[in-house]
């Protein structure tokens, strides 16, 4: 029996892609590299497709439902390496893509909260599973121990290379350690997940900056490959008069000081300039430093803030005001100390190029706001001075540079992004370095297809409302500024939220040869998800495009389930008189080549 369970890659089950699985009790697993399967997964599993690291989201949510938190944590780790960290501070592109956020479907699933829940709720005896490739004897220097550097180091270590990680600061973690406030990301958790990376034999050298402490050319001599992952740490300037007054901070330096345990001066009236995570973090930190009237000042409207709803909500809860449609025009000071900010009001306008909607200042609309301090959190750009002057071939997409053996990763390569993108970039860079060192591509993405018996979830799960994150109250937040605000889901909350997931990785298919066109499935479909089609478009890349629908029975060539609308209620399966609807679990995973 056992041997029938497993089909090797070679023994492709789908000789004919039209062949559809029928429900049965024997596991049949196929690893496909067919463009159509990649296309199907990308389209049908929007959360995973939206994740820069391609985390198998339905997979881990399903295991949370099964109370297998440890397994869920490992599924996460395969892709995003630090689930406990990302479960707190990820920018959550997955949730914007979640099908639960579509019309009629309610609010998107709390994917990120669930990620955190598996880190919180895994058993204390949980073991981290690593699959270590044989040692290669190659040495790689990774410069920068932020998310991209850590991810690159992790993957390189797994791949059998000897990794030395250089960090200019005293502690590893980069922006995670120095950018994000402790009340959002406890440092013991961060260090635990960093240690889980370092313990794979990665040598960490802190207080070692490229340039002052060790030269890049020296690294290139001593190592078989060098990856630069120093991120984006040069702050964007306001570019207005008065920017150099005392108590005008830049956001990252302000956070760095806070995170080093220093107490930078904020005063009672604090104006934060900026619309991203750092701006909100600065404002919330200013509250914890005693700020009574802390505002976030943004040029566009609320909608264009680059933070998620939770952050907006928490900032508001902490009494932070957000003033929109204004931009600073001058910083006013006395005795070299800031006393007020002059703003101009703005209005939204259209452009033909991205970002399409911009804010433009309104002439003569000045207003002056009295402040004790200003924090300019406008984001950062990468410090490319580290790169050799003769470097010309830097390709922001491939992690390679024009110099043999020199690679770039994460924000340093792509410009300022977010943590999950940096991790994805670090891992991609590790793959490129591995290919450079070994001359072969040792990992590849495939679509794992496995027959699945049932739909696994009752329709009633669709109507569960989103489970909110638990938080501590204001007094506790101010009592100790490092107290973590969010306290995570309980076991039952996590399972409840996990139930909401539509399990979009279950692919529903109708066998056109067995279908008798009775349309019973269409009658019971709760969404516009089963279609009478006369044609399927094929994209230039070989993936399937949309369906060409018809209501003319003479032209119907097939009744098809549109998996981009299907909410996996299983009602079609239940009514089909021909038993011709099959369910296949599809997962985009990485395997050894």
């Amino acid at each position: 029996m056992k041997k029938n369970d497993l089909y090797s890659k070679e023994e492709k089950f789908f000789q004919d892609k039209n062949k559809i699985y029928s429900a049965q009790s024997v596991k049949q697993i196929v690893y496909s590299t067919d463009a159509r399967d990649f296309g199907q997964v990308a389209k049908s599993v929007p959360c995973q497709d939206a994740c820069p690291a391609k985390t198998n989201i339905p997979g881990y949510i399903r295991t949370i439902f099964e109370k297998r938190y440890g397994r869920a944590y490992e599924i996460n780790r395969i892709a995003n390496i630090m689930p406990g960290v990302l479960g707190r501070i990820c920018s959550r592109p997955c949730e914007s893509a979640c099908r639960h956020g579509e019309p009629d479907n309610g609010r998107s699933v709390g994917i990120c909260h669930l990620k955190r829940s598996c880190a919180d709720l895994k058993p204390s005896s949980h073991r981290i599973i690593e699959g270590l490739y044989a040692s290669t004897g190659k040495k790689v220097a990774v410069v920068g121990s932020g998310p991209a550097g850590l991810a690159a180091a992790h993957d390189l270590a797994i791949l059998g290379h000897e990794v030395v990680l250089f960090e200019s600061m005293e502690k590893p973690g980069g922006m995670l350690m120095y950018g994000i406030p402790e009340f959002r990301l406890p440092r013991d958790l961060l260090m635990l997940e960093i240690k889980n990376i370092l313990r794979l034999g990665i040598k960490l050298k802190t207080n070692m900056a490229i340039g002052p402490d060790i030269s890049l050319s020296r690294l290139q001599e001593d190592y078989d490959a060098v990856a630069l992952a120093t991120g984006c740490v040069s702050p964007r300037k306001l570019g207005i008069p008065g920017e150099d007054f005392e108590n005008v901070h830049n956001g990252l330096d302000f956070m760095k000081a806070v995170n080093e345990g220093k107490k930078p001066f904020a005063g009672e009236k604090v104006a934060v300039i900026g619309a991203g995570f750092t701006a909100v973090d600065c404002a919330r930190s200013a509250v914890r430093l005693g700020g009574k009237d802390v505002s976030i000042n943004i040029r566009k409207t609320f909608e264009y803030m680059r933070v998620d709803e939770t952050e907006k909500y928490e900032a508001q809860l902490e009494g932070i005001k957000t003033y929109s449609l204004i931009q600073p025009s001058k910083i006013i000071g006395h005795n070299n100390k800031v006393t007020a900010v002059e703003f101009l009001r703005t209005r939204m306008e259209k452009t033909d190029r991205p970002p399409y909607r911009i804010s433009v200042p309104i002439e003569n609309s000045e207003l002056v706001v009295r402040v004790d301090s200003v924090i300019a959190a406008l984001g950062q750009v990468s410090d490319v001075n580290i790169m050799p002057k003769e470097l010309s071939g830097l390709d922001k997409k491939t992690n390679r540079t024009g110099i043999d053996g020199l690679f770039v990763a994460g924000d340093f390569a792509t410009g300022s992004s977010d943590v999950i993108s940096a991790i994805a970039g670090g891992r991609r860079c590790a793959g490129d370095i591995d290919e450079y060192l070994t001359g072969e591509k040792r990992r590849q993405k495939v679509v794992r297809l496995e027959n699945h018996v049932t739909t696994d979830r009752p329709r009633s799960y669709d109507f569960i409302s989103k489970v909110e994150m638990n938080t501590i109250d204001m007094e506790e937040r101010l009592f100790l500024s490092t107290n973590e605000v969010e306290t995570g889901y309980s076991d039952s909350q996590a399972r409840q939220e996990a139930k909401r997931c539509y399990l979009c990785n279950l692919k529903y298919e109708i066998d056109p040869l067995a279908c008798i066109y009775c349309s019973a499935c269409i009658d019971v479909a709760p969404k516009d998800c089963i279609k009478m089609i006369k044609n399927v478009f094929v994209n230039p890349d070989g993936t399937y495009g949309g369906y060409e629908e018809t209501r003319d029975w003479n032209k119907v060539v097939s009744i098809a389930i549109d998996n981009t609308n299907c909410i996996r209620c299983g009602q079609c399966l239940a009514v089909c008189p021909m038993d011709c609807i099959s369910v296949t679990k599809t997962e985009l995973i990485e395997i050894d080549t």
Partner: protein, 344 residues
């Protein structure tokens, strides 16, 4: 076959929406016009709700329109239907329960709802609001029977409601929350003035404190404050201002700040979509900024202008905005920045 007439859809059944619809019908006899409302009653006078609770006003006097008046105007009214999403590209509204409505032009007049303070969200089940007919119908009987009330917040409606309760002989405690007029905070001086003004009523006043917990206990509700005050009451009401009802518009491409941003012609950034009433933030060329509009007369005026402009006119809304509210004798600015104070 029906002629392919325009279909003007108005979201909202308040003064702005009804006046917009009426203007549209007046100017275009053939168009299909639909008002969508998430409430299940005809157009009613919101300011009369407190009087209705106190039995000073009879139910019939609450309504501006009867069911018949929509029919007369050939305006289709769809009550109890919530708009979930707008797709401006295909000009489709998505309602809850899978219905889609095509429109040719759209006026958003969805008004506003009571603001639930973020810090109070965990006690949402214990908090009552008085912002809609539905709220009132739900609580009216209970208010009459109850004796002890706790009011949290302190916006314009709060003090009206408080006076009504006192007049009904109820025992009332109010915790005045300085952020009730968000985004305008009450200063200590203002608080002192308000307290002074309220002292003529027999009410408990709590200031410079906050709610610690609210627990439902066998029919009554226990409110504890940070500073240790405990009040066992029958009902707790929250009055912390209003929030525009605009969730359905998020993500549609319509510019939104607190409310829906419109220019002085009440146009949104999207062609064929207008907004008016308290759900909108209107550009005011005079102050070179967007201002929220509050009050019945403003809503009526904006509804008319929106209707006219939608049909091709170019009327600029006359700002009926006030720079100050009168809150128990205290002047509250309608704009948040300091320097307006100096300008005025």
């Amino acid at each position: 076959m029906m002629p392919d007439n325009d279909h003007y859809v108005v979201i909202g059944n308040g003064p702005a929406g009804n006046h917009a619809a009426a203007t549209l019908r007046e100017k275009d006899k053939d168009a299909r016009i639909t008002i969508i409302s998430d409430e299940c009653v005809p157009y009613y006078y919101k300011p009369r709700l407190t009087g209705f609770i106190a039995n000073e006003i009879r139910r019939e006097k609450l309504f501006v329109s009867s069911w018949g008046s929509y029919k007369e105007q050939n305006i289709r009214i769809r009550l109890g239907q919530e708009v979930e999403k707008i797709d401006p590209d295909s000009k489709v509204l998505f309602l809850q329960h899978m219905e889609k409505i095509n429109y040719t032009k759209l006026i958003i007049a969805s008004g506003s709802r009571a603001r639930l303070l973020p810090s109070m969200s965990r006690y949402a089940d214990c908090l009552k609001f008085i912002t809609s007919y539905t709220d009132v119908m739900e609580h009216k009987e209970a208010i009459r029977k109850a004796n002890d009330f706790f009011i949290f917040g302190g916006d314009l409606v709060a003090f009206k409601f408080l006076k009504m309760l006192v007049a009904m002989g109820k025992t009332v405690t109010i915790l005045i929350y300085p952020g009730a007029f968000w985004p305008y905070n009450l200063s200590d001086d203002m608080l002192a003035q308000i307290t002074q003004s309220l002292s003529k009523f027999d009410v408990g006043i709590i200031i410079k404190d906050n709610v610690e917990s609210i627990d439902e206990q066998e029919g009554s509700v226990l409110v504890k404050t940070r500073k240790g005050i405990e009040k066992k009451v029958n009902m707790v009401f929250s009055f912390n201002g209003l929030s525009p009802n605009i969730d359905f518009a998020k993500g549609s491409g319509i510019d939104i700040d607190h409310g829906i941003l419109v220019d002085e012609y009440l146009r949104t950034n999207i062609k064929s979509i207008y907004a008016c009433g308290s759900c909108a933030q209107i550009y005011n060329p005079a102050v070179k900024s967007y201002t929220a509009s509050i009050g019945w007369p403003n809503a009526v005026a904006q509804g008319n202008v929106a209707g006219l402009n939608l049909l091709g006119d170019h009327k600029v809304i006359e700002s009926a905005g006030r720079k100050y509210f009168d809150l128990e004798g205290v002047k509250i600015k309608t704009t948040w920045w300091d320097d307006i104070d100096d300008e005025s």
